[in-house]
Structure formats: C-alpha cells, structure tokens
Assembly symmetry: C2
Homo-oligomer: 666 residues x 2
C-alpha cells in the first residue's frame, strides 16, 4: 500500500467516527496515523514554497512583471495553506474557490491577527493601499516566514478598459496572474450582474402586469389552478403569512416613482446614466426614467461582502427593499418572489477565490463593493476563513477602500459589527506626494504630468500637509486600535522628506512609522513594515465602535461627521429629512450608517485639502440597503457608472494569438 493512499483511508475513517464502524479493527497504529493526518491538516506552521523575485531596474510594467513569474499550481498552494482537496474547486490552473464547509471544520481554531490597511486622504492617483497590502504580506510570508493571507477586493472590470487600468497591486507587489485578477476572475461580478438585473426585470414586469390585469386575473396567474387545486410556492407562502387578502397578495402596488433598484453593467457606459425604458409598443406606454449603475454598486455586491453564511445570504436576499408601495409599505425582493433565484445565482459567488502574490503567498480575492454608496471592503467570509487558516500566530491583512475617513470607518462600524471580528492593527498608507497636496501643492490630475512641487524636495509643503495624516491617525485611534504608518516611497522622494513623515507620524501618536519600497523591491522592501506590524499586534488595544446602533439616524450621521470628518454639524436637506422619518417608521432606523461622501477630502468638497474645519455637512438624501444592512446618506451627487474617455485603455490591450499572452494591461 502506497503511503498517500493509506493516509487517505485514514482520513475517511476519522470522518466516519472511528468507534462506530462495525467490523473495523482499530489498531494503535491506525489511531496514531489518523492523528498525525489530522495534525497535518491543522493550521500550524505552513511550509510554503515561496517564489524568488528577479528584480529589474527600472521596474517594468505590471503586466510584464506578472507574466515573468510562473504562478504555482493553485492546488499546490491550497495544500500548502492546509486546505483539503475536497474543500477546493479549481478554476483553471491559477484560481480556485474555497468551499464554505471549511468554516465548520476549523471553527474551534483560534483566529490569527487581523490587520486592516487604509490610507490618508489620497490624490486622484491613489497612494498604493493595494500595493502596500500585497507588499506587506509578501514581507510577512516570504521574508519573515509567518503564515499570512491577504484579503483584497475583486476590481470592477469596467475601469480596466476605461482609464484606471488594473488593480492587482503594482510593481513587485502584485496578485498574479494580474490579467485573471482584473478580468472575469471566477465570474462573481457577472453573477451579481445577472442577479441584480433579474430583480430589475421582475420589478418592471410586475408593475406592467399589475397595470394591465384585474386582481382576480393576477391571482389566477400567480397561483394557477392545477388539477382543481391551487399550489403556493414556498416563497409565496412566506408572503401569505403577512397578507391574508387577495388584493394585497396579488397586487404589490409599487409606486413607480419610488423604485430605488437600478439595473447594472460592469462596463463604463456613460450613456446609461439616465435612460427612459419601456418605449417598445409591447409595453403599452408604461415608460419610466431609470438608470444603470456599475455592477459593484449593486446592493447584491454589498450583501456578498457582508454575509457570513449561505443561510444568512438567503435571508439578506429576501430583505432587500426595492421600492415603496403606494400605501407606504417597503417592497422587498421576497415580495417579488425572486429571492430564492437570487441565492441560486449567487451560490458559487459566495465562495472566496484563492490566488497568490508574486512571491507565492496566498490571497483571497472576494467581493468588491463600491466604496461610496456601499462600504468598500472585501468579504467577511474571506477574512474569517483566512483568520482560521493562518492560525493564532499568523496574520490576515485586509484592505479598506478610499481614505481612513471612509473605508476604515466603514470597516469598523459596518464590517466588524457584522463579522464580530476585532482588528489588531491599522496600517495607514501615506505618500509624500499626497501630503504635499494637503500642504497646499498644486492640483494633481490623472493623466497629466506632476507639477514640480511633487518631484522636488519641499519640506515646507510636506510638513504642512502632515495635518491630514495626523487627523487620520486620530480617526483610527477613536476605535482604540494601534496605528502603523507605512510611508510608501516613490523614487522622487528624498531621505529628508521620508524621515520627516515618519517623525511627524510618531509625534501624532502612531505606534510606529516606517518607510517601505515594496513597489520596487517586493516583500523585501516591506520587511521593516512587517516587523512593525508584528510588534503592534502585540500592543494593548481596546476596540470600540464609534456610535451605538440604537441612536436616532441623524445622531449617528452627526457623530461620524463631527468625530471623523471634523464638521461643525450636519444639515439634513428636505429629502433626507423625509427619509429619516420613512426609514424610522419602516423599522430600519437601527441600521449602521454608510456615508456616500467624496474620498478626496475629509469634508464634502473634493478641493478642500488638509484638514478642513468650520463646515456643515449637507445630507442631500438617504437611501437604504436593507439586505446588506446599512443606510447610506448621500453627501452631494455620486456618479454610479463611469464613462469612457476619448482614448480608453482598450486601445493598448490585445491578445497574442500565438502565445495566448495578454498585452497592454497595466
């Protein structure tokens, strides 16, 4: 008998319960080996084969670096991190999904250390949070030999072909293969598009059929007589519990002007920002104004990110409010009868996706909700599974979108509230470039050359701009978690500049502040950061939420505005005031708050840099994502689907039919 085979049999014995298999002779040897087998699958010290980087100068483009590294077969990485083969579903050679059964298998296992990466208020170019997240795990895993997982968001495919390019980190700190990461991945976003648009189609079709049929006809069609009997589907029975009258059962009576559910596409299609639908003669004149959002703005994406199990997702899929009836009742996806189908469409998307960094350490890529009208954080499930897999001495590094005033605040107040997880360390990414902008440097515009203030030493601007970093450190401290500042160095930064940022950060109360160069050097460039994070994870921490859920809606908004943004007060405009009343009446008043505010300023005005003061935050409107579980106040107008510029990125993207290589992604 070959050893591998024997071990497999050992595993089966254990699964069935050793003492209950009739006729099985359990020798001491069997028990010992079975024990060894299980130990082998208990999270302990991993033995990961890391990939050596062959660093080039100047640093090549992201796609060239990504392609120059041959990724490990993903099933091998899965084994290395302690996943059983039955728990892994391969999607090609470089991606895999992890089944949720692992949550149960590892439930008794203590969690690892939980690190969230956030940033100061960024320039429109971004300051390298994703790159730092990946650089940090490459350092912890490949250089410090610790168990570590990165948990990152799946990027929207739309911007990949528009102006932004890829989002898999950058330079020598990337998730690979970057083209798989940036394109379809395993289809999760596509599943959301399908699910979201099924709801949208169901809403308009329902309004149409209700408009053209009597109550009785509707009822006869909804619950057809078959063999002398009417049979309700389980979803209809759920509804029957609340409505005993045919009219209320058969007629949802949706107010067309109240529909908040939009169609979505994962494409930068500006011409769908506002449209009129229903203009074909077959729809008999029932036209209405509507819009498309980008898929990652769908509430279903937020549900995916915040759910904790299949059962929980099924419940959230039923609770999503899509409109209000003419009598003021919230209309849900369950009312439309579509909640089960949505869960079926999302049954694979709920499983986190395993990929790897350039240095061969594991990454979960899972969920990527919009960071303004949603909470902008990757999934709770990926974090939870990763925390079990790394074990008590290991680390999970997760990323929160936008600056600390947005992504981190929502990470703590929304994501950690739903997950019950408690973070050990905040890594705050800062760049000399962004700090100079906050100090009064000229405007930074994507696609335009940087003004000279940003490429020459300027300690004065820099020191002034550190105010923003100080405020964001303070923001993290509101939650009682130690902060490590990671100064993401660019080649134009001077020694004096980098030193100044570090000393200002420590003076502002950071646990530590270190320079890193992971973009140019991979994990080796973030070892100092890794060591600081490891030390900080042992420091005392005293996590607390910023507000109590039971407070009135306006009070919760005010607390965020005053404590995090530095506002004097908030102003509820009439529509927002109306929604406060409506949602309170409908029973949604105790949901957490997800602010939809610009990420380019601590205030609501994108051009106010540094630490704006003396402002009142205007709340234009409030919307509810009841299934995801938050209210989102709109501060100003949020664009929810980007457009294509005159020369989109796609001009450079092509496939070499010979080698099957993707060119031109960046």
């Amino acid at each position: 008998m070959v050893k591998g085979e024997w071990i497999k049999k050992g595993a089966v014995v254990i699964d069935c319960g050793i003492n209950h298999i009739p006729g099985l002779i359990v020798s001491e040897n069997t028990v010992l080996s079975a024990k060894r087998f299980l130990e082998g699958h208990q999270p302990g010290k991993w033995n990961i084969s890391c990939t050596k980087l062959n660093l080039q100068k100047p640093v090549p483009s992201d796609i060239v670096i990504s392609r120059s590294c041959v990724p490990k077969p993903i099933d091998r990485l899965a084994r290395e991190v302690g996943l059983l083969s039955d728990e892994v579903e391969l999607y090609g050679k470089t991606k895999a999904k992890v089944q949720l059964s692992i949550v149960k298998r590892l439930q008794a296992q203590p969690d690892g250390k939980y690190v969230v990466v956030t940033g100061i208020t960024p320039t429109p170019l971004g300051e390298g949070k994703s790159t730092t997240t990946i650089g940090l795990v490459q350092a912890l895993g490949a250089h410090m030999n610790l168990n570590v997982f990165a948990c990152v968001r799946q990027p929207s495919q739309g911007p990949t072909f528009g102006i932004k390019g890829g989002a898999a980190g950058g330079g020598y700190s990337q998730v690979i293969p970057m083209e798989e990461f940036n394109l379809h991945l395993t289809g999760d976003i596509h599943a959301i598009t399908a699910a979201n648009n099924l709801v949208a189609a169901a809403i308009d079709a329902r309004m149409f059929h209700e408009s053209t049929q009597s109550d009785k006809a509707l009822y006869n069609r909804l619950v057809p007589l078959s063999g002398g009997q009417r049979k309700f589907s389980p979803i209809q029975i759920n509804r029957l519990r609340i409505s005993v009258f045919i009219t209320r059962f058969a007629r949802l009576d949706i107010d067309p002007s109240s529909v908040t559910w939009q169609r979505v596409l994962d494409t930068n299609d500006r011409f769908l920002r506002k449209i009129t639908i229903g203009q074909s003669p077959t729809e008999k004149g029932y036209t209405r104004e509507a819009q498309f959002d980008i898929t990652v703005a769908s509430e279903i994406m937020a549900v995916l990110a915040l759910t904790s199990s299949l059962e929980d997702m099924r419940q959230r899929m039923a609770k999503m409010v899509v409109a209000t009836s003419r009598s003021g009742q919230p209309i849900t996806t369950e009312d439309l009868g579509v909640s089960g189908a949505l869960t079926v469409l999302m049954k694979d998307a709920i499983k986190p996706n395993l990929m790897q960094t350039l240095e061969g350490t594991p990454v979960f890529v899972h969920a990527g909700p919009f960071a303004n009208i949603a909470h902008g954080n990757s999934s709770i499930l990926a974090d939870k599974i990763a925390l079990k897999l790394v074990g008590p001495e290991g680390f999970v590094v997760t990323e929160a979108g936008f600056g600390a005033d947005i992504g981190m605040e929502k990470f703590f107040n929304i994501k950690c509230r739903y997950s019950g997880l408690r973070p050990h360390v905040v890594v705050l990414v800062a760049t000399v470039r962004a700090l100079k902008m906050h100090g009064g440097g000229p405007t930074v515009t994507a696609g335009m050359p940087l003004p000279k203030e940003y490429v020459e030493e300027n300690l004065e601007l820099l020191e002034k701009g550190c105010s923003n970093m100080r405020k964001q450190i303070e923001n993290a401290q509101h939650f009682g978690v130690p902060v490590v500042v990671a100064v993401n160095g660019f080649k134009t930064d001077t020694e004096a500049e980098l030193d100044l940022v570090c000393s200002m950060a420590k003076a502002a109360g950071a646990y530590d502040a270190v320079r890193c160069s992971h973009w140019a050097e991979g994990g080796a460039g973030a070892v100092a950061l890794g060591q600081a994070v490891q030390r900080a994870s042992g420091a005392p921490s005293n996590f607390k939420f910023l507000y109590d859920l039971e407070l009135p809606i306006a009070d919760k908004i005010r607390i965020i505005a005053q404590k995090i943004y530095g506002a004097d007060d908030i102003e509820l405009l009439p529509e927002a005031q109306h929604k406060v009343e409506l949602y309170t009446k409908q029973g949604f008043g105790n949901l957490p708050i997800c602010m939809a505010k610009t990420h380019l300023s601590l205030s609501h005005e994108a051009d106010k840099k540094g630490v704006p003061t003396g402002f009142v935050l205007p709340i234009r409107d409030i919307r509810a994502s009841v299934g995801a579980g938050f209210l989102f106040p709109l501060v100003g107008t949020m664009p929810t689907i980007p457009g294509l510029p005159t020369r989109p990125c796609f001009y450079d993207i092509d496939l070499d039919p010979e080698t099957e290589q993707v060119n031109g992604l960046f």
Copy 2:
C-alpha cells in the same frame, strides 16, 4: 519509483524530444514505455466507466433526476476520453475547459462520424431535439460501447428564470449537473455580455467625444504627445494603413441613425426592448433611441460559434461592422480600437466546456447563438475537437436549433461551409403531437393543457400532418445526406400512431425511422436509433451546399425560400433592397445567408402549419454580421429579448442552505 511517476517522467522526455536532452540515457525500455504512454493517449477505443441509471416511474422532474446521479469527477472523464491533464482546465468538480492546443496535437488523427440532430417544424413546446441528442449519445456510448461525444449549445440564462425552464435535455436523457448547465456554466455568456457592451459603450462614447471636440483635439487625445513623441498603438497602426488624413483617422463620423450594434443582457427584461439613452446632463443632450437584446443574440456569440482558432477569432473581432459613417463607409470594431480588448475578454470563452450525460458519456457545451438573427448551432471548435477525440469509428452528435428549414439549413450552408466538416447522417426528430398539429389539430399553447386530439389516438390528423415531415426529409436530401427519423414517443402516443409515423417516414425517403423512449428510459430507449444511425453513417452520401456564395444576395435568399420553405418567390421590401445595394457595394455580397424567419411554420406566418404553398416570402430588411460572416434577412419582426410573464419560473427556484441543493429548476 512508483509507476505513475515513471510514466509522467516518460511523458516529459517525449515532450522535450528524446534525442535532444544532453546526458539522458535512452534505454530501449524507456523508448518502449514512452511509446506505450503515447499510445495510451492516442484516440482509440475508450474505456469509459458508464453510470447505471436507476429508472423510476413515473419519471421524476429533471432536477430530481439530475440530482439523483452523482457525476463522475470531470478530470476522470477527461482522462477517459484521451485528454491530457495539461489540456484540461477544471472549473469546479463537474465542468472543465479544454485548451485549443489539442487541435494541433490531434491534427493527423482521422475524424469520426458527424451526425446532426434536427427536427420537423415544432409546436411552441419543442419536440425534444436536445433530449434526443443526449439520448442518442447515451445509447451509442453507454449501450453500444462506441466512442461518442454530444456537442450542444449553452442555453441562455434569461429564459431559465422566465417561462422556459432548463435546456439540458430532459427526463433520463440529460447533461448533468443540470443546474450548472443552465446557470453560469464557466462564464462564456457573461464574457460575451461584457465584450458586447464594451463595444456599445465605445460607440456612444466615441460619437459623444467627436461631437464635442475639434479634429485636432481628438487627434491629440487619441495619440497623445509623450516625451516629444506620438506613439500609435498597434490597433491604431492598423487604421493608419487605411487613413492618411488626420480627419479620417481621428473622426469616424458615425451616422447615429446607422448604428446596428445593440447592448445585451442575459435577462428577460422586456422594458429594455426600446429605450432612450444619454439623458443625463453629463451627456449634454446627445440622446438617441437604442435597445437591448438577449446576450445570445450578440454577434460575438455567433463569432464564438463559427471561429476556428484564436487567430481567426482575433480577425473576426476586428471585422464586426457596427454602423456606417456619414460618407457610407462601414465602421468596424477595429476602427473603434476595441478589437484586441474583445479578444482578451473572450480568451477563455473560446475553449469548449466538458460536461457529462446522466450515463457518464462526454458532452461539449459550447456557444449558443440565437437561431433566428444568428445561425443557432453550437461551436465549430467543439465539433472539431470531438471528432478527433472519438476517432474514425466514433460518433459526434451535434444539434441544430429549431426545425430543419432553419437550424439544419444554416448548419449546412453556414456552419459546415466555415468548418469544412462534412456530415454523415441527419437525425430528424418528429413527434406525434407536432404532426397532428400540422394535420390541422387545434392550437398548442405553452402553459395550457393539450386539447384531446393530442392525447387520444387520431390517425387521420396524424397522417395528414406527416406532410411536414416529408418536406423536412426532402430538405435534408437537398444536401445529399441520409436521414434517420427519430420518433420521440410520448406516453399518450399509441402503437398504431408510432408505426404510422415510421412507415410514412420511410415512404418519404428516410434511410430509416425508429421509435425511441430515451426520455423515460435513457440510452436504453434509443439503442434502435443508435443502430440506425450507425448503419446510415456507412451509407453513401454526397454532400453539397444549396447555393453558391458568389451568387447575388437576392438569388441566394430566393433559393432558400423556394427550395427549403416552398415559397413561390421572395419580395424585397424597400429597406431590404437598399441593404442589398449597400452590402454589395461594401463588399459583403458574397457572405452566406442566415434567414431570420419564424420556426413555427415553413412559411413566414407562424400559424400556417403543414406544408404551406402559394406564398411569396417578404424580406423586410437585411442586416450584416460581418465578423461572424453572414447576412441576415429579416422576414417579419423578430423579438430579440424575451419578457417575464406574470408568474415567472423563479417563484419556484430556491437553494437549500443546508444541503446547497438547487430546488425548483425544471
């Protein structure tokens, strides 16, 4: 050294070329074993472990049957049919993609026998072509022990949640797991949605940017000055070859009223049939009327189905015509600069998907173009790979959508023309139900009980209706291929009825006609059909196309109308006449013809059953799918996106969060 390991090393040796590895001692034993290894991977007689069916009466629902069978691990099936592990990309445990490198590996291998399944003119309920396709391969593979592959279309997900339900065959003749088949599969349709809509967004964004910018500004943005130099992307260089003037290069000058490219969604959303786009203030008043089609109606789906390699797909992606310029030039996807990105988005979709039947035989599921405005056949690549894998004594059974006048005619004149493959046998599916309808039986409506004529013996109606079968047999004979009629039996059919159909079929010139009961009995119910097909495949055949490509457009349409539909003549309405002239001038006159006609009658009027005569076929308009490679004349108005009924299927669909089972799909 374990045997498996040794064999693997043997394989590596061969891959590298035995004689060229320095220092390698090639013993006779090595060579012999290497040869044995390669022989093991040459297509020969497969040794497939078939799955035994446990037949229940009455036959349970499709999803219950599908779930009652545990599918083989798909990597095992892949090995059984001679695929090398490097050629297979797993997508979970029950689906895999096959890499195109296999085409080269097996290029010297003779093809198997090629069988196309088509049908008589159906009722709106469908007559079981898919079920017969699967039943036939289960018979040939699991009962007659032959190498056999089924090649079927991937169904659109939209109708799964609307009125139609699943499309994986039915009863005991199904592709499993049916929920995987009917839902996302491996994401090919989602990739098409993304690619198609990127083109649509690019068209409107380009028209918008051209409307708001001078030639010079456009040029500067399209080819920005960087470091004193302008760099053209390879796609732009392709365009430079044809346009030396800045204006023509920078300004496509699309006539907005000429745009034929529509947006798509894989959702039954009737409210998107006609819409107005661009109504947000950010689009500055550039609104226009547009529409959404269902994704399978996208030209990109037709390209996927008709392409023969990655290189060929890249070329087709460049040739798709989306509009006409104000000066009458065709505007292509290459002109928009998006052709490379489309190929990148479709790089995985081009690989056929491997699944299995209920009895464990292999199935390729690949591409599913609309059967009216496109050609309604599964992919050429899947057929080609399957024909190599089964080897010269094996069979590939592929299905053509709709009745023989539509799907089969397009299979021969379009698909076989592009593939160069020559079919051996036509299987024509007939049902007593549909033949009675053609004989003058009452209207058959989906969702309504069948009138008594259909559930009681009625030889008179049946005999009269056999005219339609006779005509469709004749249609197949136009192409010189032997026809086997498969009479798909229902439990209400009588012996006398089934016998009558068989004898009428033989009298009409069918090579053979047999009764089958694969829906109720799986492959065992189609063994007689399998034997007939095997015999017919050895019969003389003399394949020929119906028309010559070099004929004028109108002549090609007339030949189809007269020979296949039985029309007296055609009538080109003004718009069609205009398009004949335009396309002839633009150089597209020699493309094959893809008729967009109702499938419910041989004529253009759906309610004319049997064999209509004495009619003139009106051609309302003609469109071009230049990338896919056909012109499609529109006979009447084709609905291109279905709607949701008052009570869509989704009411019954749900996921059991405990077992993760899908319920309610049918």
